[in-house]
């Protein structure tokens, strides 16, 4: 990157191409839905990843990679989707890598 102005222009271009403003609105709605309904969702999808678009659950699976592959194949707008692991138990953060 030659200079700061060039970098700024590139970021603006990326934001426009990705329709970032619209995407932040939808994604916020999707994320807030998970936070507000987490307790109910855990009972329904224990120890699974869920994918939410606005207020719709568009996928769930125990394996994140498999879930994302399915979402990508379905043509869902991934930029607008919120993902969350609905773990049943508190696991020390460091152990999550080796479980």
């Amino acid at each position: 990157m030659n200079n700061l102005q060039e970098f700024t222009n590139l970021l603006k271009e990326i934001a426009t191409e990705n329709k970032l403003y619209e995407s932040t609105k939808v994604l916020s709605e999707s994320q807030e839905f998970i936070y507000a309904h987490r307790d109910e969702l855990i009972k329904q999808y224990p120890d699974q990843w869920i994918a939410v678009h606005r207020t719709d659950i568009v996928g769930h699976h125990k394996d994140l990679l498999i879930l994302v592959r399915k979402l990508r194949k379905s043509g869902m707008p991934l930029q607008n989707i919120a993902l969350e692991m609905l773990g049943l138990e508190e696991i020390p953060l460091a152990l999550q890598f080796i479980l």
């Binding site: 970098f7 700024t8 990326i14 916020s28 991934l78 508190e90 020390p92």
Partner: protein, 163 residues
């Protein structure tokens, strides 16, 4: 009261929130930001946990997999073994980009930074984290009792774009 900002500095303030990671677990401080990886032309909003104990901002599979195809992970910057929360060492890709903070009137304040992007094969369920590489530009206020998460940046040359 006199300002402690120099004439060239500008102050920006952003609010975050506390949220639970797991049932019965402690609430942790988060902030809603935007991540841009300019080499790949992608950007996405991400809820990041504030981690002042980390030197680098991290992007975990939960967020990076929605931005990049699996094949693009091979094209990310150099691979390194990094020490993550709890001292566990994992493989990560190092990639330049920027974090953005939403301002009023559809504008974003960007801070260029480097991300540690965890390999998706590691099946990490950690949240992405905002580290000291970004937090060092300002002051972070955390108060779990009053549920306050506040970041103030003091930037002398802010990168601001409209979106």
């Amino acid at each position: 009261m006199p300002s402690n900002l120099s004439s060239s500095e500008k102050k920006f303030q952003f609010q975050g929130f506390y949220r639970k990671g797991y049932p019965g677990g402690p609430e942790r401080p988060f902030i809603r930001i935007i991540v841009a990886l300019h080499r790949f032309g992608v950007s996405k909003q991400v809820d990041m946990m504030l981690d002042s104990g980390s030197d680098v901002t991290t992007l975990q599979p939960k967020d990076s997999l929605l931005m990049l195809n699996e094949s693009q992970f091979k094209l990310l910057g150099r691979t390194a073994e990094i020490e993550t929360m709890g001292g566990i060492r994992v493989k990560a890709h190092i990639e330049e980009g920027a974090v953005g903070f939403l301002l009023p009137a559809k504008r974003v304040c960007w801070i260029p930074t480097t991300f540690d992007i965890t390999d998706p094969e590691l099946r990490s369920i950690l949240p992405s984290t905002l580290g000291n590489d970004v937090l060092r530009f300002g002051t972070t206020v955390l108060n779990a009792v009053r549920r306050i998460v506040k970041i103030e940046f003091f930037l002398s040359n802010p990168l601001i774009t409209s979106i």
